[in-house]
Each structure stands twice: as C-alpha cells, then as structure tokens.
Amino acid sequence: MSAARFSARFYVAAGIVAAVLLFGLVAPLVFRTHQVGDVVGGLYDHPSAHAWLGTDNLGHDVFTNLMYGTRTSLLIGLVAGAIATLLGVAVGTLAGYRGGAVEEGLMGFTNVILAIPSIVVLVLISIALGTRSTLTLAVVLAVTSWPWTARAVRAQASSVRTREHLDVARLSGAGTFSLICYDVVPYMLSYICMAFVLQVSGAVLNEAALSMLGLGPSGGVSLGIMLHWALAWESVRTGAWWAFVPPTLLLTLLAFALLMLQSSLDELFNPRLRRHARRRRTARPAALPLPVERPVPEGAAE
C-alpha cells in the first residue's frame, strides 16, 4: 500500500511531466528579462548569453517563446483533456449504467462521431471561428476527442452496474444520480484517471497540429505556433535549428512522458500487467542458489 507499488517507469514519466509543468507554469515567473513580443535581436540570431536559444524570424527570444508556448500548450491540453474526459465519462457512464435503448442511442451517436476523422472536423471548426482564444480552442479539441473515452467508459460502467452494492444502495433508496456519482464512477476512477492522461497528451498534440497549420490560438504563442513560424520562415533550410528543435523536443518529451505515465498507471491499477513484479518474482528463486554455491569457491581457495 506504499510508494513501493509505483514502478521506476512511473517515477521517470511523472518526473518528466512535472518538469515540463514547472517549465511552463513557473519558469515564466522566474525568467523575466524578456516578455513575449519583445524584439531582442534580428532574424534568427544564434543562441547567445543575451538570448539563450537565439531569436526567431521576428527577432523574438526563443527561450521566452518556449516558456509561454509550453504554458499555452499545457493549458489547452489540460482544459481540453478535462472537458473531453468529462464528456466521455458522462456519456459512457449513462450508456453503460442505463443499458437498453439509451445505450444503443448514445453509443450509435458516439460511433458516428468516431467514424469522422477528427482532424477534418478540427480544421473546419477552427476555420469557421474568426478569433480563437485558448479556451475556445480547448473546447473545439475536446468536442472532437471524447468519443473513444465514452466507449471505453461504457464498457467499464456496464460491468460495474451488475455489482451487488448497487442493489444494496437501491434498496436503501439511493436515486439514479446518487448511484452514478457514488456507486459507479468511484469504481472507475483509476480508469478515468488514465483516460484523462491520454486525453491531455492527445490534446497537446492536436493543438500543435492545428497551430502548425496556422489554425492555432490567436494573439499568443504555443509550441505549435512556434513550429508554424519556423517552417514558414525557412528555419529548416537556413539551418536555424534553435527555432524548431526546442519546441519539437518539448512536444515529443511531453507526449512521450504522458503516454509512459498512462501505461505505468495501467500497470499499477491492473495487476495482470505488472511485468516488472512478475520478473522480480521469477528472478528470486533463480537467485536463491547463489549463497549455496558461494562456499564452494571459498573452500577451493583454502
């Protein structure tokens, strides 16, 4: 029941995620020499003591952009992830818990949404919106990504539904809302937690994809927008690696760490997947004969 149950993978993943969070949320408060939009140099100045990661096509400090861009990307990711998880859990729980026609209807709708490639919907909605605030973009990302969570949660809910404690709660007079909130959802929390992590990682990547296409949040900087400008102003051709490598690395690192966090959480909540524990357990008997063998070479030495 202690921290020993967490695998090394979990700590590595959580560490990276925490580092990126710190960088996005705390670093802008610490490093305040430059602000977003300050022109600190020329076109693609090399990294220097003045601008740690050089400047971009407009002479803005890349490091400053990176901090604020990470903040925007994380904010969109977390908000979109939370909304998508909420929607997915609501639809999935209702469908799984009620069953019958409600389930058929909701899941039919979910499958229709799943069948439409979400990037197309994303692009169309983003074009339709004149100005896109961070929050609007998060909502747009959320409404296109909840369906698979709904489907997965439905399966969980319909299995929890048959448990005896629900009958007991019904006999105590608990209403449907109370049953769903206190008897069904808490039993799926581990699952919902993992779904949220995946949704955040999906939203961060989708935001980057949209921004790279020039459909990102207006009036700000995000990791995707940095990549958009870097590509549009030929940083790749001119070898200005500092313009595109840092945002790419951060995005990769964040997405990778979130996926790893999810899979190590899965391992924690689902004992059948604990390969480390199994390996350790099978390794132990193999290690046992060692102390027995040890006296032999000692005897040979004498």
Binding site: E164, H165, S172, A174, D183
Partner: protein, 277 residues
C-alpha cells in the same frame, strides 16, 4: 424449530396455485410468477409459473441448486427485476406493476450473498446506513442506527466509523442485516446470506435470523442451496428446480418425507446431519 402453523394449511405439493389459498395470514402471495430472459429461441424461463405464500412471522426457505431461479425470484420480490407474467401481492395489495418502490422498500429489505461486494468500499458503515435517509427521512436517527446494529449483536462504537475492509466477514454480513433492519421491514429476504461465511459464522447469522422471527415477528424468505440449513431455520420450504416449484410444504414434512425425486436428490447430497430414518 417452530412449526405450529403447519397443521392448518399445507400448500399443495405439486406447487400449484392452491398455495395462494391460505392468503388469509400471508404477507406475500406470488401467483404464477414467471420471468423470462431474452426472447425467441434464446429465451430462458428463469422462474416458471411459481406460486407460493409467505406467512407472517415465519421463515420460508427456497432451496435449489445454482441456476434454479432462486435469486431471480428474490429479485422479483424485491422489485429489482420486473415480472414477466403472474401476480405479486404484498400485504393484500397487488404490487406487480407498482413503480413507487420507495414505500415498498421500507417494507421489504434484503441481505445478499457476498458480504464484500455488497458494500460500497468507499463508504464507512455510518455512511452506508445514513443512505437510508431518502427512505426514512427524519426518522433516521443515530439512535435508530445504534439499535439496528445492536439487534445483530454489533456495538455501534466499534463499527460505525469503519470501512468494509476493516471488518471481518461475519461483521460485514451483520452490518448488511442491520442496514435492512434499519427500515424496520416486515419482510426480509436473505439471498444466500450465509453461503460465503464459514461454518461458525453461518450458525451465528442463522441464529440472528431465527431471533428476529421469534422476537420481532419478522417474516423471512431465506434462500439457500443447502437443504441442511433450510432444515435448521425454516417453517416452510419451497423447492425450486430449473425455475419450477417442484415441492413445497412445512419444513419437517419436506425434509423427513420428501415426495419429489429432486428433493430426495438434494437431501441425499447433504452430509448426514440427522438420522432421517
């Protein structure tokens, strides 16, 4: 074993509707109760044309092997499962299609088989009991919770603040009975309530049930696969096989003079507890 009322009425052994004839002092009467799952070729008649009467202040046991329809019958009586056809009468009123379950559940309560999965693991005993507020309203007081726990031999101070994983199996099952008693029901359905307990705890729970009948006059429907337990507690026995009622009658008669082959088979499978001579 108290079997005084047996002289008066004896439900027909073939399990026909005549069981409902003694509806006079019956709390619950089931007439031709049937429950079908699925439809078409896949239809399963889990409970098939079962008629019976549960007399007030008696323990009636339903015996049958797994899949005989015992739990389906219990769920229908609890109104957790709609009846496909037939009629269910409670205290003189037809409740077959009654949708207002709030009042019904103040009268009819249940204890289930698995004393662990019946608990919401996130709730303390106090919270579990307090959930009855919707049924009981202002009647639900701390004193009433304490009283219900005392009825099953638990000290409120020991268990109220605890989570289910902090209780033993026997304590958990007694808390479940206390939860049911909190409503002061007139019918308690114990669906395999002793099956997952070890032998000594089983006797404790059975004694709690017989005590409730003798002291509080509670009507109890006891469901078990173990005809030995039926013999220990019950006044009336109903034998279910594949959803059909194959034999019913006073406990002593059914156990010591079984008339249906299936009942004989069930009895033959029991490790010998009595000399059935």
């Amino acid at each position: 074993m108290s079997t005084e009322p047996t002289g008066r009425t004896t439900p027909a052994d073939d399990g026909s509707a005549s069981a409902a004839a003694d509806a006079g002092d019956a709390l619950v009467v089931g007439e031709h109760l049937t429950r079908v799952f699925g439809r078409g070729d896949a239809a399963v008649r889990a409970v098939d044309d079962v008629s019976f009467a549960l007399r007030r202040g008696e323990i009636t046991t339903v015996v049958g092997e797994s899949g005989s329809g015992k739990s389906t019958l219990a769920r229908m009586l609890l109104k957790l499962l709609p009846v496909t056809s037939g009629r269910l009468v409670f205290d003189g009123a037809d409740v077959t299609d009654r949708t207002d379950t709030t009042a019904y559940w103040r009268q009819v309560q249940a204890v289930f088989q698995d004393p662990f999965s019946a608990f919401n693991q996130f709730f303390t005993v106090r919270r579990l009991l307090a959930r009855s507020r919707r049924l009981l309203g202002a009647e639900l007081t701390e004193a009433r919770m304490v009283e219900a726990l005392e009825q099953v031999g638990l000290a409120a101070g020991d268990v109220l603040g605890r989570y289910p994983h902090q209780l033993s199996g026997g304590q958990r099952q007694r808390v479940m009975i206390a939860r049911a008693l909190l409503m002061r029901p007139s019918l308690l359905i114990a669906d395999e309530a002793t099956s997952m307990l070890d032998a000594s705890l089983r006797a404790t729970i059975l004694n709690v049930l017989t005590d409730l009948r003798d002291r509080a006059g509670l009507t109890i429907l006891f469901i078990t696969h173990d005809i030995g337990q039926a013999c220990y507690v019950s006044d009336q026995v109903l034998v279910l096989s594949r959803g059909r009622l194959v034999e019913s009658g006073p406990a002593e008669r059914v156990i010591f003079d079984p008339r249906h082959d299936y009942t004989r088979k069930l009895l033959a499978d029991v490790p010998r507890l009595h000399d059935t001579g």
